[in-house]
Symmetry: C2
Subunit: 209 residues, 2 copies
DNA sequence: GGTTATTTGAACCGTTCGGTCCAATATGTA
DNA sequence: TACATATTGGACCGAACGGTTCAAATAACC
Protein backbone atom coordinates (compact mmCIF):
# COMPACT_ATOMS: atom_id res chain seq x y z
CA UNK A 1 0.00 0.00 0.00
CA UNK A 2 2.96 2.31 0.32
CA UNK A 3 2.49 4.72 -2.56
CA UNK A 4 5.85 5.73 -3.85
CA UNK A 5 6.32 9.43 -3.91
CA UNK A 6 5.63 10.37 -7.53
CA UNK A 7 9.16 11.45 -8.16
CA UNK A 8 10.01 8.93 -10.83
CA UNK A 9 7.78 10.29 -13.54
CA UNK A 10 10.73 10.42 -15.89
CA UNK A 11 13.59 8.07 -15.49
CA UNK A 12 16.21 9.24 -17.93
CA UNK A 13 17.66 12.55 -18.79
CA UNK A 14 15.16 15.34 -18.51
CA UNK A 15 14.36 17.69 -21.33
CA UNK A 16 16.66 20.69 -21.47
CA UNK A 17 14.25 23.07 -23.12
CA UNK A 18 10.75 24.33 -22.58
CA UNK A 19 8.42 22.92 -25.19
CA UNK A 20 6.12 25.92 -25.19
CA UNK A 21 9.01 28.32 -25.54
CA UNK A 22 10.48 26.46 -28.47
CA UNK A 23 7.09 26.23 -30.10
CA UNK A 24 6.72 29.96 -29.73
CA UNK A 25 10.03 30.52 -31.47
CA UNK A 26 8.94 28.26 -34.31
CA UNK A 27 5.63 30.05 -34.53
CA UNK A 28 7.50 33.34 -34.87
CA UNK A 29 9.54 31.84 -37.68
CA UNK A 30 6.49 30.69 -39.63
CA UNK A 31 4.84 33.99 -38.92
CA UNK A 32 7.75 35.85 -40.46
CA UNK A 33 8.66 33.62 -43.38
CA UNK A 34 5.56 31.58 -44.08
CA UNK A 35 5.39 27.81 -44.41
CA UNK A 36 7.17 27.07 -47.66
CA UNK A 37 9.93 29.62 -47.25
CA UNK A 38 10.87 28.37 -43.78
CA UNK A 39 13.40 25.57 -44.13
CA UNK A 40 14.38 22.92 -41.64
CA UNK A 41 17.64 24.80 -41.21
CA UNK A 42 15.66 27.90 -40.29
CA UNK A 43 13.69 25.85 -37.81
CA UNK A 44 16.83 24.50 -36.21
CA UNK A 45 18.23 28.00 -35.89
CA UNK A 46 15.03 29.51 -34.56
CA UNK A 47 14.46 26.76 -32.02
CA UNK A 48 18.05 26.47 -30.90
CA UNK A 49 17.51 22.74 -30.91
CA UNK A 50 19.17 20.10 -32.97
CA UNK A 51 17.39 18.84 -36.04
CA UNK A 52 16.77 15.42 -34.58
CA UNK A 53 15.65 16.81 -31.24
CA UNK A 54 13.17 18.88 -33.14
CA UNK A 55 11.97 15.89 -35.06
CA UNK A 56 11.78 13.61 -32.04
CA UNK A 57 9.88 16.09 -29.94
CA UNK A 58 7.44 17.61 -32.38
CA UNK A 59 7.52 15.53 -35.53
CA UNK A 60 7.89 16.66 -39.12
CA UNK A 61 7.86 20.20 -40.45
CA UNK A 62 4.24 19.72 -41.38
CA UNK A 63 3.29 18.66 -37.87
CA UNK A 64 5.35 21.41 -36.30
CA UNK A 65 3.60 23.94 -38.46
CA UNK A 66 0.24 22.70 -37.25
CA UNK A 67 1.40 22.88 -33.65
CA UNK A 68 2.68 26.40 -34.19
CA UNK A 69 -0.60 27.47 -35.77
CA UNK A 70 -2.50 25.97 -32.88
CA UNK A 71 -0.33 27.80 -30.42
CA UNK A 72 -0.84 31.06 -32.29
CA UNK A 73 -4.59 30.68 -32.19
CA UNK A 74 -4.63 29.84 -28.49
CA UNK A 75 -2.33 32.72 -27.60
CA UNK A 76 -4.17 35.07 -29.88
CA UNK A 77 -7.59 34.00 -28.68
CA UNK A 78 -6.56 34.73 -25.12
CA UNK A 79 -5.23 38.11 -26.13
CA UNK A 80 -8.45 39.01 -27.87
CA UNK A 81 -10.44 38.07 -24.82
CA UNK A 82 -8.23 40.28 -22.69
CA UNK A 83 -8.33 43.19 -25.05
CA UNK A 84 -11.96 43.27 -26.01
CA UNK A 85 -13.48 43.63 -22.58
CA UNK A 86 -15.58 46.22 -20.91
CA UNK A 87 -19.16 47.23 -21.30
CA UNK A 88 -18.84 50.39 -23.34
CA UNK A 89 -19.99 48.88 -26.62
CA UNK A 90 -18.61 50.70 -29.65
CA UNK A 91 -16.00 52.45 -27.57
CA UNK A 92 -14.47 49.13 -26.66
CA UNK A 93 -14.51 48.19 -30.32
CA UNK A 94 -12.72 51.42 -31.15
CA UNK A 95 -10.16 50.69 -28.47
CA UNK A 96 -9.50 47.39 -30.17
CA UNK A 97 -9.01 49.13 -33.48
CA UNK A 98 -6.45 51.33 -31.79
CA UNK A 99 -4.70 48.20 -30.69
CA UNK A 100 -4.75 47.01 -34.30
CA UNK A 101 -3.27 50.34 -35.37
CA UNK A 102 -0.50 49.99 -32.83
CA UNK A 103 0.26 46.48 -33.98
CA UNK A 104 0.16 47.34 -37.66
CA UNK A 105 2.84 49.94 -37.18
CA UNK A 106 5.15 47.76 -35.13
CA UNK A 107 7.94 45.73 -36.62
CA UNK A 108 6.29 42.58 -35.40
CA UNK A 109 2.83 43.54 -36.60
CA UNK A 110 4.00 44.21 -40.12
CA UNK A 111 4.21 40.46 -40.51
CA UNK A 112 0.44 40.52 -40.56
CA UNK A 113 -1.63 37.83 -38.89
CA UNK A 114 -0.26 34.30 -38.98
CA UNK A 115 -3.75 32.84 -39.39
CA UNK A 116 -4.50 35.05 -42.36
CA UNK A 117 -1.09 34.41 -43.90
CA UNK A 118 -1.55 30.70 -43.47
CA UNK A 119 -5.02 30.91 -44.98
CA UNK A 120 -3.82 32.56 -48.14
CA UNK A 121 -0.61 30.60 -48.52
CA UNK A 122 -1.96 27.11 -47.95
CA UNK A 123 -5.65 27.75 -48.31
CA UNK A 124 -7.48 24.72 -49.47
CA UNK A 125 -4.24 22.91 -50.17
CA UNK A 126 -3.64 21.87 -46.56
CA UNK A 127 -6.73 20.62 -44.70
CA UNK A 128 -5.37 21.42 -41.27
CA UNK A 129 -4.61 24.97 -42.39
CA UNK A 130 -8.18 25.36 -43.60
CA UNK A 131 -9.31 24.09 -40.22
CA UNK A 132 -7.27 26.75 -38.44
CA UNK A 133 -8.59 29.32 -40.84
CA UNK A 134 -12.11 28.48 -39.71
CA UNK A 135 -11.15 28.44 -36.06
CA UNK A 136 -9.52 31.84 -36.33
CA UNK A 137 -12.55 33.20 -38.11
CA UNK A 138 -14.85 31.90 -35.41
CA UNK A 139 -12.70 33.11 -32.53
CA UNK A 140 -12.34 36.57 -33.99
CA UNK A 141 -16.05 36.73 -34.72
CA UNK A 142 -16.99 35.81 -31.18
CA UNK A 143 -14.60 38.34 -29.71
CA UNK A 144 -15.92 41.14 -31.91
CA UNK A 145 -19.52 40.18 -31.27
CA UNK A 146 -19.30 40.97 -27.58
CA UNK A 147 -18.80 44.75 -27.79
CA UNK A 148 -21.15 44.98 -30.74
CA UNK A 149 -23.96 43.16 -29.00
CA UNK A 150 -23.31 45.29 -25.97
CA UNK A 151 -23.60 48.36 -28.21
CA UNK A 152 -27.01 47.15 -29.32
CA UNK A 153 -28.10 46.71 -25.72
CA UNK A 154 -26.86 50.20 -24.94
CA UNK A 155 -28.89 51.57 -27.81
CA UNK A 156 -25.80 52.80 -29.60
CA UNK A 157 -26.53 50.93 -32.82
CA UNK A 158 -29.36 49.35 -34.77
CA UNK A 159 -29.82 45.88 -33.21
CA UNK A 160 -30.87 44.52 -36.58
CA UNK A 161 -27.37 45.09 -37.91
CA UNK A 162 -25.34 43.31 -35.21
CA UNK A 163 -24.43 40.43 -37.51
CA UNK A 164 -23.54 42.81 -40.31
CA UNK A 165 -21.30 44.84 -38.05
CA UNK A 166 -19.58 41.75 -36.71
CA UNK A 167 -18.80 40.54 -40.22
CA UNK A 168 -17.69 43.99 -41.22
CA UNK A 169 -15.42 44.47 -38.24
CA UNK A 170 -13.74 41.15 -38.84
CA UNK A 171 -13.27 41.95 -42.51
CA UNK A 172 -11.69 45.27 -41.61
CA UNK A 173 -9.25 43.67 -39.22
CA UNK A 174 -8.31 40.96 -41.73
CA UNK A 175 -7.81 43.52 -44.43
CA UNK A 176 -5.61 45.63 -42.15
CA UNK A 177 -3.38 42.64 -41.50
CA UNK A 178 -3.09 42.00 -45.23
CA UNK A 179 -2.13 45.60 -45.84
CA UNK A 180 0.40 45.59 -43.03
CA UNK A 181 2.12 42.49 -44.34
CA UNK A 182 1.91 43.56 -47.96
CA UNK A 183 4.40 46.33 -47.56
CA UNK A 184 1.88 49.14 -47.51
CA UNK A 185 3.41 52.10 -45.70
CA UNK A 186 2.42 52.33 -42.06
CA UNK A 187 0.96 55.81 -42.62
CA UNK A 188 -1.32 54.40 -45.28
CA UNK A 189 -2.37 51.51 -43.05
CA UNK A 190 -2.99 53.95 -40.24
CA UNK A 191 -5.13 56.02 -42.56
CA UNK A 192 -7.11 52.90 -43.37
CA UNK A 193 -7.66 52.35 -39.67
CA UNK A 194 -8.86 55.94 -39.38
CA UNK A 195 -11.49 54.99 -41.91
CA UNK A 196 -12.41 51.94 -39.87
CA UNK A 197 -12.95 54.11 -36.82
CA UNK A 198 -14.96 56.67 -38.72
CA UNK A 199 -17.10 53.91 -40.14
CA UNK A 200 -17.83 52.56 -36.70
CA UNK A 201 -18.71 56.04 -35.52
CA UNK A 202 -21.17 56.32 -38.39
CA UNK A 203 -22.99 53.32 -36.90
CA UNK A 204 -24.03 55.35 -33.86
CA UNK A 205 -27.71 56.09 -33.62
CA UNK A 206 -28.76 59.61 -32.59
CA UNK A 207 -29.34 59.58 -28.84
CA UNK A 208 -33.03 59.00 -28.23
CA UNK A 209 -34.63 61.84 -26.29
CA UNK B 1 14.84 55.62 -101.91
CA UNK B 2 13.33 52.20 -102.42
CA UNK B 3 12.13 51.26 -98.97
CA UNK B 4 12.30 47.57 -98.50
CA UNK B 5 9.02 46.05 -97.48
CA UNK B 6 9.34 45.57 -93.77
CA UNK B 7 9.20 41.81 -93.99
CA UNK B 8 12.55 40.98 -92.43
CA UNK B 9 11.76 41.86 -88.88
CA UNK B 10 12.85 38.42 -87.71
CA UNK B 11 15.38 36.44 -89.59
CA UNK B 12 15.59 33.08 -87.90
CA UNK B 13 13.00 30.63 -86.75
CA UNK B 14 9.91 32.33 -85.45
CA UNK B 15 8.50 31.76 -82.03
CA UNK B 16 6.10 28.86 -81.88
CA UNK B 17 4.04 30.04 -78.91
CA UNK B 18 2.16 33.13 -77.88
CA UNK B 19 3.97 34.98 -75.14
CA UNK B 20 0.83 36.39 -73.58
CA UNK B 21 -0.86 33.01 -73.59
CA UNK B 22 2.06 31.32 -71.90
CA UNK B 23 2.32 34.10 -69.36
CA UNK B 24 -1.36 33.62 -68.61
CA UNK B 25 -0.80 29.95 -67.96
CA UNK B 26 2.07 30.76 -65.63
CA UNK B 27 -0.02 33.34 -63.85
CA UNK B 28 -2.69 30.71 -63.29
CA UNK B 29 -0.05 28.43 -61.81
CA UNK B 30 1.19 31.04 -59.34
CA UNK B 31 -2.38 31.95 -58.57
CA UNK B 32 -3.17 28.39 -57.63
CA UNK B 33 0.02 27.31 -55.87
CA UNK B 34 1.67 30.52 -54.77
CA UNK B 35 5.27 31.49 -55.41
CA UNK B 36 7.29 29.15 -53.23
CA UNK B 37 5.19 26.07 -53.83
CA UNK B 38 5.38 26.39 -57.61
CA UNK B 39 8.48 24.60 -58.88
CA UNK B 40 10.27 25.02 -62.16
CA UNK B 41 8.86 21.64 -63.14
CA UNK B 42 5.38 23.00 -62.51
CA UNK B 43 6.18 26.00 -64.65
CA UNK B 44 7.39 23.82 -67.50
CA UNK B 45 4.24 21.75 -67.33
CA UNK B 46 1.91 24.73 -67.08
CA UNK B 47 3.56 26.62 -69.92
CA UNK B 48 3.99 23.64 -72.22
CA UNK B 49 7.43 25.04 -73.00
CA UNK B 50 10.82 23.60 -72.43
CA UNK B 51 12.70 24.74 -69.39
CA UNK B 52 15.33 26.57 -71.39
CA UNK B 53 12.77 28.16 -73.69
CA UNK B 54 11.07 29.44 -70.60
CA UNK B 55 14.33 30.78 -69.27
CA UNK B 56 15.43 32.34 -72.56
CA UNK B 57 12.12 34.03 -73.15
CA UNK B 58 11.13 35.28 -69.72
CA UNK B 59 14.11 34.88 -67.43
CA UNK B 60 14.31 33.26 -64.02
CA UNK B 61 11.45 32.08 -61.83
CA UNK B 62 11.67 35.32 -59.97
CA UNK B 63 11.36 37.43 -63.10
CA UNK B 64 8.58 35.26 -64.48
CA UNK B 65 6.66 35.70 -61.26
CA UNK B 66 6.91 39.46 -61.58
CA UNK B 67 5.75 39.29 -65.19
CA UNK B 68 2.82 37.09 -64.16
CA UNK B 69 1.86 39.47 -61.38
CA UNK B 70 2.01 42.38 -63.76
CA UNK B 71 -0.18 40.58 -66.21
CA UNK B 72 -2.67 39.75 -63.48
CA UNK B 73 -2.92 43.37 -62.44
CA UNK B 74 -3.38 44.59 -66.00
CA UNK B 75 -6.01 41.99 -66.78
CA UNK B 76 -7.71 42.53 -63.48
CA UNK B 77 -7.64 46.28 -63.73
CA UNK B 78 -9.34 46.11 -67.10
CA UNK B 79 -11.95 43.77 -65.71
CA UNK B 80 -12.70 46.10 -62.82
CA UNK B 81 -13.13 49.00 -65.20
CA UNK B 82 -15.55 46.97 -67.25
CA UNK B 83 -17.50 45.73 -64.30
CA UNK B 84 -17.79 48.83 -62.22
CA UNK B 85 -19.47 51.08 -64.72
CA UNK B 86 -22.75 52.88 -64.83
CA UNK B 87 -24.11 55.87 -63.03
CA UNK B 88 -26.32 54.25 -60.45
CA UNK B 89 -23.99 54.82 -57.52
CA UNK B 90 -24.51 52.29 -54.73
CA UNK B 91 -26.44 49.98 -57.01
CA UNK B 92 -23.41 49.60 -59.22
CA UNK B 93 -21.34 48.89 -56.15
CA UNK B 94 -23.82 46.21 -55.12
CA UNK B 95 -23.65 44.71 -58.60
CA UNK B 96 -19.91 44.45 -58.16
CA UNK B 97 -20.38 42.68 -54.85
CA UNK B 98 -22.62 40.21 -56.63
CA UNK B 99 -19.79 39.62 -59.04
CA UNK B 100 -17.50 39.00 -56.09
CA UNK B 101 -20.02 36.53 -54.71
CA UNK B 102 -20.14 34.70 -58.01
CA UNK B 103 -16.37 34.53 -58.18
CA UNK B 104 -15.97 33.43 -54.58
CA UNK B 105 -18.17 30.42 -55.20
CA UNK B 106 -16.43 29.36 -58.40
CA UNK B 107 -13.65 26.83 -58.51
CA UNK B 108 -11.34 29.47 -59.91
CA UNK B 109 -12.36 32.14 -57.45
CA UNK B 110 -11.67 29.94 -54.47
CA UNK B 111 -8.00 30.57 -55.17
CA UNK B 112 -8.61 34.05 -53.88
CA UNK B 113 -6.95 37.07 -55.44
CA UNK B 114 -3.42 36.65 -56.74
CA UNK B 115 -2.45 40.13 -55.62
CA UNK B 116 -3.65 39.49 -52.07
CA UNK B 117 -2.04 36.07 -51.98
CA UNK B 118 1.22 37.51 -53.19
CA UNK B 119 1.01 40.29 -50.63
CA UNK B 120 0.66 37.92 -47.73
CA UNK B 121 3.11 35.31 -48.97
CA UNK B 122 5.99 37.57 -49.98
CA UNK B 123 4.96 40.76 -48.25
CA UNK B 124 7.89 42.90 -47.42
CA UNK B 125 10.30 40.14 -48.32
CA UNK B 126 10.16 40.77 -52.06
CA UNK B 127 10.27 44.45 -53.08
CA UNK B 128 8.59 43.90 -56.43
CA UNK B 129 5.77 42.03 -54.72
CA UNK B 130 5.27 44.95 -52.34
CA UNK B 131 5.16 47.23 -55.38
CA UNK B 132 2.42 45.14 -56.92
CA UNK B 133 0.61 45.11 -53.63
CA UNK B 134 0.49 48.89 -53.73
CA UNK B 135 -0.52 49.00 -57.36
CA UNK B 136 -3.36 46.59 -56.73
CA UNK B 137 -4.50 48.58 -53.76
CA UNK B 138 -4.52 51.78 -55.80
CA UNK B 139 -6.28 50.25 -58.78
CA UNK B 140 -8.98 48.70 -56.66
CA UNK B 141 -9.43 51.92 -54.73
CA UNK B 142 -9.89 53.97 -57.87
CA UNK B 143 -12.36 51.51 -59.31
CA UNK B 144 -14.44 51.48 -56.14
CA UNK B 145 -14.28 55.23 -55.78
CA UNK B 146 -16.20 55.84 -58.99
CA UNK B 147 -19.59 54.41 -57.97
CA UNK B 148 -19.18 55.75 -54.45
CA UNK B 149 -18.46 59.28 -55.58
CA UNK B 150 -21.37 58.97 -57.95
CA UNK B 151 -23.52 57.89 -55.02
CA UNK B 152 -22.52 61.05 -53.21
CA UNK B 153 -23.47 63.15 -56.23
CA UNK B 154 -26.79 61.36 -56.42
CA UNK B 155 -27.42 62.16 -52.80
CA UNK B 156 -27.53 58.49 -51.86
CA UNK B 157 -24.84 58.79 -49.20
CA UNK B 158 -23.15 61.29 -46.93
CA UNK B 159 -20.47 62.96 -49.11
CA UNK B 160 -18.26 63.36 -46.06
CA UNK B 161 -17.85 59.61 -45.87
CA UNK B 162 -16.78 58.86 -49.44
CA UNK B 163 -13.19 58.08 -48.44
CA UNK B 164 -14.36 55.94 -45.57
CA UNK B 165 -16.68 53.97 -47.81
CA UNK B 166 -13.97 53.47 -50.42
CA UNK B 167 -11.58 52.08 -47.81
CA UNK B 168 -14.32 49.95 -46.35
CA UNK B 169 -15.40 48.52 -49.67
CA UNK B 170 -11.88 47.59 -50.57
CA UNK B 171 -11.34 45.99 -47.20
CA UNK B 172 -14.50 43.94 -47.63
CA UNK B 173 -13.42 42.68 -51.04
CA UNK B 174 -9.94 41.80 -49.81
CA UNK B 175 -11.38 39.98 -46.85
CA UNK B 176 -13.76 38.04 -49.08
CA UNK B 177 -10.86 36.85 -51.19
CA UNK B 178 -8.99 35.76 -48.07
CA UNK B 179 -12.01 33.81 -46.88
CA UNK B 180 -12.54 32.20 -50.28
CA UNK B 181 -8.95 31.01 -50.48
CA UNK B 182 -8.80 29.99 -46.85
CA UNK B 183 -11.15 27.09 -47.30
CA UNK B 184 -14.16 28.77 -45.75
CA UNK B 185 -17.29 27.12 -47.12
CA UNK B 186 -18.87 28.96 -50.01
CA UNK B 187 -22.12 29.32 -48.08
CA UNK B 188 -20.25 31.08 -45.30
CA UNK B 189 -18.47 33.36 -47.74
CA UNK B 190 -21.75 34.10 -49.44
CA UNK B 191 -23.25 34.96 -46.07
CA UNK B 192 -20.37 37.35 -45.51
CA UNK B 193 -21.16 39.00 -48.83
CA UNK B 194 -24.76 39.32 -47.72
CA UNK B 195 -23.43 41.33 -44.82
CA UNK B 196 -21.40 43.47 -47.18
CA UNK B 197 -24.51 44.26 -49.19
CA UNK B 198 -26.56 45.01 -46.12
CA UNK B 199 -23.84 47.30 -44.86
CA UNK B 200 -23.83 49.24 -48.11
CA UNK B 201 -27.59 49.52 -47.94
CA UNK B 202 -27.26 50.98 -44.46
CA UNK B 203 -25.24 53.80 -46.01
CA UNK B 204 -28.26 55.11 -47.89
CA UNK B 205 -29.57 58.43 -46.69
CA UNK B 206 -33.31 58.87 -46.32
CA UNK B 207 -34.60 60.47 -49.51
CA UNK B 208 -34.74 64.21 -48.96
CA UNK B 209 -38.23 65.62 -49.36
C1' DG C 1 19.37 25.89 -101.70
C1' DG C 2 22.35 28.07 -98.69
C1' DT C 3 22.51 31.21 -94.83
C1' DT C 4 21.16 32.90 -90.53
C1' DA C 5 18.68 33.37 -86.43
C1' DT C 6 16.05 31.14 -83.11
C1' DT C 7 13.99 27.39 -80.61
C1' DT C 8 14.38 23.05 -78.65
C1' DG C 9 15.27 18.94 -75.59
C1' DA C 10 18.34 16.98 -72.61
C1' DA C 11 22.28 16.64 -69.91
C1' DC C 12 24.29 18.77 -66.21
C1' DC C 13 25.59 22.06 -62.33
C1' DG C 14 26.11 22.72 -57.22
C1' DT C 15 22.90 23.52 -53.49
C1' DT C 16 19.30 22.83 -50.52
C1' DC C 17 15.35 20.32 -49.53
C1' DG C 18 12.87 17.39 -45.74
C1' DG C 19 13.92 13.44 -43.28
C1' DT C 20 16.50 9.50 -40.85
C1' DC C 21 19.80 7.13 -38.10
C1' DC C 22 23.12 6.28 -34.44
C1' DA C 23 26.97 6.60 -31.35
C1' DA C 24 28.13 9.66 -27.73
C1' DT C 25 26.54 12.08 -23.87
C1' DA C 26 24.14 13.56 -19.88
C1' DT C 27 21.10 12.82 -15.98
C1' DG C 28 17.95 10.81 -12.30
C1' DT C 29 17.39 6.52 -9.75
C1' DA C 30 18.77 2.69 -7.15
C1' DT D 1 29.06 3.77 -8.19
C1' DA D 2 26.45 1.38 -11.56
C1' DC D 3 22.37 1.28 -14.18
C1' DA D 4 18.58 2.79 -16.94
C1' DT D 5 16.74 6.13 -19.93
C1' DA D 6 16.33 10.06 -22.65
C1' DT D 7 18.52 13.75 -25.29
C1' DT D 8 21.96 15.32 -28.18
C1' DG D 9 24.92 16.64 -32.34
C1' DG D 10 26.36 15.33 -36.59
C1' DA D 11 26.87 12.29 -40.42
C1' DC D 12 24.17 10.83 -43.94
C1' DC D 13 20.22 9.87 -47.32
C1' DG D 14 17.95 10.28 -51.98
C1' DA D 15 15.23 13.63 -54.16
C1' DA D 16 14.08 17.96 -55.81
C1' DC D 17 15.43 22.62 -55.98
C1' DG D 18 16.51 26.81 -59.31
C1' DG D 19 19.51 27.66 -62.87
C1' DT D 20 22.83 26.99 -66.94
C1' DT D 21 24.87 25.31 -71.11
C1' DC D 22 24.99 23.36 -75.73
C1' DA D 23 24.59 20.66 -79.86
C1' DA D 24 20.89 19.50 -82.83
C1' DA D 25 16.73 20.72 -85.12
C1' DT D 26 13.94 24.03 -87.47
C1' DA D 27 12.01 27.65 -90.26
C1' DA D 28 12.07 32.27 -92.48
C1' DC D 29 14.88 35.09 -95.51
C1' DC D 30 18.06 36.01 -99.50
Amino acid sequence: MSTETATNRHRGRPREFDEAEVLDALMELFWTKGYEAASLADMVEASGLNKSSLYNTFGSKDEIYDLALGRYLDTRGGMLDQIITGDRGLDDLLDFFEFVRLEASSESGRRGCLAVNSSTELGNAKPTAAEFSKRYRATMGEALRRPIERAAVLGQIDPELVDVYVDTSRALVVSASVAARGGIETEEVSRQIDSMCRLVDSWRLPASV
